[in-house]
């Protein structure tokens, strides 16, 4: 490959990376739970003794200030001109919604007049009337169809006439408000520039300096959390993959050598059966056998971070590795067998045998290298799958791999970790596929002669 080609590829790689991770980050910031303090709004448990509305609002706004999430999300945003004008009036929180609607529909001057009058009226009016008007106004603001808007307008007019009979100023300003129309330009979207002081910029500059942020659950740096989860996932993956590779190689080879043997047929049928058993069944059966054999749940408690070998030595990881081997052996073996069989039927194998090589030797020397090439793609997918976590195994054996860390972080709204894992998996996938491409290039001489 030439230099421009390489640099184009690198550029593409980084662009994909930046684009995907930015999307994940921005989407995660748009989720509703991000803007609520932890534990303040749990959907399935309302506990008695929570505070009143004003306290909750104050606390939520303090939280947003503390975390810096009250800043704009991105460098720019779009907003209707009318809404921006309404914001300039700086209304009270409860009036924001209907005042924006009023400005957008009827212009800023009469809206401001009505808002002022409403503030005065509110001081003296009975609270239930204030609430009723508030409710009417909110509904009017929320209405979308023209006939609904106009009927609600009439209703508010009637309500105001009956309520403030002696001092009709509120009713009058309302009448004035609804008689006017806002200029059309209020519906034009305006681009608002927020500059560098936004959430995305802060996150991206942190990322470029290698700072993925810290977990919101236990304050650990994200890379550290991913690191220890990766530890388990790699241990688990190695324990599953290496025996599976060995077994698949031996079985595939044996099947091809003795295609008519009874063992081959029995074993192949068993592999088909194993392939169709759902994963959770395999893990539970393995777990059950472990208990039967007198195994215990109690893992030796360790102090500090264990090294990879230590991790691989603990019973849950060993059992998990065994399950993973069971998951991938059928697929890998059958594919390898199929590939080897195809090669063994090809002309060059026949030539090799005609020249005096034994069947076994012709398979090993000539057919095998060719049969391995298609297996590479399969293998790269398996490796990627293993690192992103085999959730069934991790959940059953209570292992803290990448898969369960991702699920846990999503459930506890720990978005820095979610974004971090996404980034890691993306880089890993790209790295593995690039490496596989490279291997193809090296292993298959035809590719070299093409370039």
């Amino acid at each position: 490959m030439t230099l421009p080609q390489v640099s184009l590829r690198v550029l593409k790689f980084f662009f994909t990376l930046w684009f995907t991770v930015s999307c994940v980050f921005l989407v995660s910031r748009l989720l509703p739970s991000v803007n609520n303090p932890r534990g303040l709004a749990d959907a399935d448990s309302t506990v008695y003794g929570t505070s009143n509305q004003n306290t909750l609002q104050k606390i939520t706004s303090d939280y947003l200030t503390r975390t810096g999430y009250n800043r704009p999300l991105f460098y720019f945003s779009f907003q209707l001109k009318g809404l921006e004008t309404a914001e300039n009036i700086k209304p009270m929180a409860e009036a924001t919604r209907w005042l924006s609607a009023a400005v957008l529909r009827h212009g800023v001057v009469p809206s401001q007049a009505f808002y002022k009058e409403w503030q005065n009226w509110k001081k003296t009016a009975p609270p239930e009337k204030v609430n009723q008007l508030q409710e009417h106004l909110q509904r009017w603001a929320g209405a979308e169809l023209n006939e609904e808007i106009s009927s609600l307008k009439k209703m508010i007019s009637r309500f105001l006439q009956t309520t403030s009979s002696d001092e009709n100023s509120l009713s009058k300003t309302w009448g004035k408000l609804i008689s006017q129309n806002a200029p059309l330009s209020y519906h034009l979207p305006l681009l608002r520039w927020h500059g560098k002081d936004n959430v995305y910029h802060a996150w991206l500059s942190g990322l470029l300096q290698g700072d993925l942020g810290t977990s919101t659950v236990d304050y650990k740096p994200v890379y550290q959390k991913i690191g220890s989860a990766l530890h388990v996932s790699v241990g688990l993956g190695l324990l599953g993959l290496l025996p599976a590779l060995l077994a698949s190689y031996l079985l595939g080879f044996a099947f091809t050598l003795h295609p008519t043997s009874v063992y081959t047929s029995v074993l192949r049928h068993f592999l088909y059966f194993l392939d169709s058993v759902p994963g959770f069944m395999i893990t539970l059966v393995v777990f059950g056998i472990y208990f039967l054999a007198g195994g215990s749940l109690l893992v030796p408690f360790s102090s500090g971070e264990p090294d990879l070998l230590q991790t691989m030595g603990t019973p849950p990881v060993l059992l998990g590795g065994l399950c993973i081997a069971f998951f991938i052996i059928p697929h890998l073996t059958l594919q390898f067998y199929h590939s080897l069989q195809t090669q063994s039927r090809s002309l060059y194998t026949r030539t090799a045998m005609a020249k005096g090589l034994s069947y076994r030797r012709s398979l090993r020397v000539h057919a095998l290298p060719n049969a391995l090439v298609p297996i590479l793609t399969l293998l790269s997918e398996v490796v990627i799958g293993l690192v992103s976590g085999v959730l069934i195994v991790e959940i059953t054996f209570s292992l803290q791999g990448i898969g369960s860390l991702l699920v846990k972080s999503i459930l506890s709204n720990d978005y820095p970790v979610v974004v971090g894992i996404t980034l890691f998996l993306l880089v890993f996938r790209l790295a593995v596929t690039t490496f596989t491409d490279f291997l193809y290039l090296v292993l298959d001489p035809r590719n070299q002669s093409n370039t």
Binding site: L40, T46, T50, S51, F291, S398, Q400
Partner: protein, 573 residues
């Protein structure tokens, strides 16, 4: 074919498992469904972390799980109460024997520190700030360092518990530099914003928002009877009883100062099937919230009944369907009543809960005999009545459904029911309700959402119907936050828009009333009103499903969380 094979295989294993031997040691092993995730004193992760915290830290008061009574824990006795116009004063004295692990006495300064921690800026304490907002100040007695008064705004009877229901943390450990000791509690609350700018508070926050505080079990030491031995994240938490615990020397009022098990191991097994396997292999002594089918099968099987006792204590988790009273479709109560007649509670309890649930007419548990309105007949399943009510509310039946004219626009009665995704009980109920509604031509769309999305929709009042659990308690009847109209606007906790001026008065009176008889009369009125308004359709109080090893003596199961009293357990070898 695969299925039969898999099933017969699993049956074989389960049979074999029942013959295997139990774990030999004297530790009490409890299954937890979730990792505690964080042991930070302010931002701990979940209910499991709280359960573990209750073994390590102590509060001034506690609730005895045996009889649901409020008992002193760190405090020498229940607080003395004094009231004036707008404030209430609760005076406590800490037990003279109470000591931290380093031998120093627990004093009012530690209590003041703990309260300040709940309100300091820059910390992850938002939910505590909301919960303990009513505590205005703490006055330390200058002559007696173990005596102090907590000043609360307003007065409700539950403050007798709530004013002493927070963990007391050792100040020497969490604030070695004395940052919080230098500032008074009331100042922290008043100058919240400006204090958050100061460097001392920034430094304190950096010290406290630190992974070692959240995960290092060696540094987590409280006044409780247990200390951490180890925490294998995601796998197990082990706690040992302290060899010398201060409360062993206490002579009086010892009712709640018990700690029998010498070692407690929490086994974290997220997967229910794996946990059941572990239970059947007797690797855990206790498992709660057993799946219904497993619970029923194990209860019948002598192989398990010889090793386990099974309990299904009542709980205060109330499942209800809420209706949006601010929604134009559901604004009038007659429509809401009509929908309430489409819920077949006995059928739901029988099919979804296997009979293990208690039907109720209101949000008071039928077990609370003096407060529960036993003579109020439940609505019952009655589609014909529902139709009559709909007509009464102005709806007209057409070939395609129900319509009415409102504000010059035709409204169609089409509803959407929100429930949490992944909760199979809610899913089944939603399907049953959808069927019942369809039978009288009301189309109901079911929407399974993630819980924070539901919260957001409820908060914005952008919904028709929803299913939810309300964790209630027999210790508090302050229902103002969730039922008063002053909390009905966006952002408040009254999400269904319940309430009339009449019910508001009722709620205010209930919150203040201390005499049982009067309170009962008011609560019964409220239950009638709530049924009439039908913003809430109460389905049932759930029952816990527990299996506890027969090796454990003096078992106490409770309707309060976590559902059993670990501290009273003794395990035979």
């Amino acid at each position: 074919m695969t299925r039969t094979c898999a099933k017969s295989l699993s049956l074989l294993f389960i049979w074999l498992l029942s013959c295997s031997s139990p774990s030999p040691d004297s530790a009490v092993r409890v299954r937890l469904a979730q990792d505690p995730e964080s042991l930070h004193p302010l931002s701990y992760g979940n209910a499991n972390a709280l359960q573990i915290f209750n073994l390590v830290y102590q509060s001034l008061l506690t609730v005895d799980l045996k009889d649901n009574s409020v008992q002193p824990l760190l405090a020498a006795g229940l607080p003395q109460v004094r009231r004036d116009d707008s404030l209430a004063y609760f005076t406590y004295t800490i037990r003279p024997e109470a000591r931290w692990d380093n031998g120093s006495p627990i004093t009012a300064a530690d209590v003041a520190f703990s309260l300040k921690l709940l309100h300091s800026p820059l910390l992850d304490n938002e939910r505590w700030r909301a919960q303990y907002h009513f505590i205005k100040d703490i006055q330390v007695n200058k002559e007696n360092p173990t005596s102090f008064t907590i000043v609360c705004s307003g007065y409700t009877p539950e403050m007798k518990l709530m004013s002493g229901d927070f963990f007391v943390f050792p100040a020497y450990q969490f604030d070695p530099k004395g940052t919080l000791a230098a500032v008074s509690y009331s100042l922290i609350r008043q100058k919240f914003d400006s204090l958050s700018q100061t460097s001392t508070f920034k430094e304190f926050a950096a010290f406290l928002n630190n992974p070692s505080i959240a995960t290092d079990t060696a540094t987590i030491k409280g006044s409780g009877p247990y200390q951490f031995i180890s925490w294998n994240a995601g796998q197990a938490v082990m706690l040992d009883r302290k060899k010398t615990w201060w409360a062993d020397k206490v002579a009086t009022n010892k009712k709640t100062l018990i700690a029998n098990p010498s070692r407690i191991v929490f086994q974290i097994i997220p997967d229910n099937a794996a946990a059941v396997l572990a239970l059947k292999a007797r690797q855990v002594d206790l498992m709660d919230n057993l799946p219904l089918v497993t619970f029923q099968e194990m209860k019948k099987d002598p192989a398990y009944t010889q090793h386990f006792n099974f309990y299904s204590p009542l709980s205060y988790d109330l499942v209800y369907m809420g209706m949006n009273g601010t929604n134009p479709l559901l604004k009038d109560k007659v429509t809401r009543q009509a929908l309430a007649h489409l819920v077949n509670v006995p059928q739901v309890i029988k099919t979804i809960q296997g009979g293990l649930a208690t039907p109720t007419v209101g949000l008071i548990h039928p077990k609370e005999k003096e407060f529960y309105h036993g003579s109020l007949p439940p609505f019952g399943f009655d589609p014909e009545k529902a139709k009559t009510l709909l007509k009464q509310a102005g709806w007209q039946e057409s070939s395609s459904g129900w319509e009415r004219n409102a504000n010059g626009r035709t409204q169609r009665l089409e509803l959407e029911l929100l429930h949490r995704a992944g909760n199979s009980e809610f899913e089944s109920f939603a399907l049953l309700f959808q069927q019942n509604a369809k039978a009288i031509k009301i189309p109901v769309t079911l929407r399974a959402l993630e819980s924070s999305q539901i919260s957001e929709r409820l908060k914005a009042r952008n919904y028709d119907l929803f299913l939810r659990t309300l964790v209630s308690t027999p210790l508090s009847y302050n229902l103002v936050p969730i039922l008063h109209t002053s909390n009905a606007a966006e952002g408040g906790s009254n999400i269904t828009g319940f309430g009339t001026p009449n019910t508001d008065q009722l709620l205010e009176k209930i919150a203040q009333e201390e005499r049982t008889q009067e309170k009962a009369a008011l609560l019964k009125q409220l239950q009638e009103k709530m049924q009439e308004e039908s913003n809430f359709v109460f389905l049932y109080f759930m029952q816990n499903k527990l299996a506890i090893s027969k090796q454990i003596d003096s078992v106490v199961v409770s309707s309060l969380k976590p559902g059993y009293d670990l501290l009273r357990f003794t395990k035979r070898k």
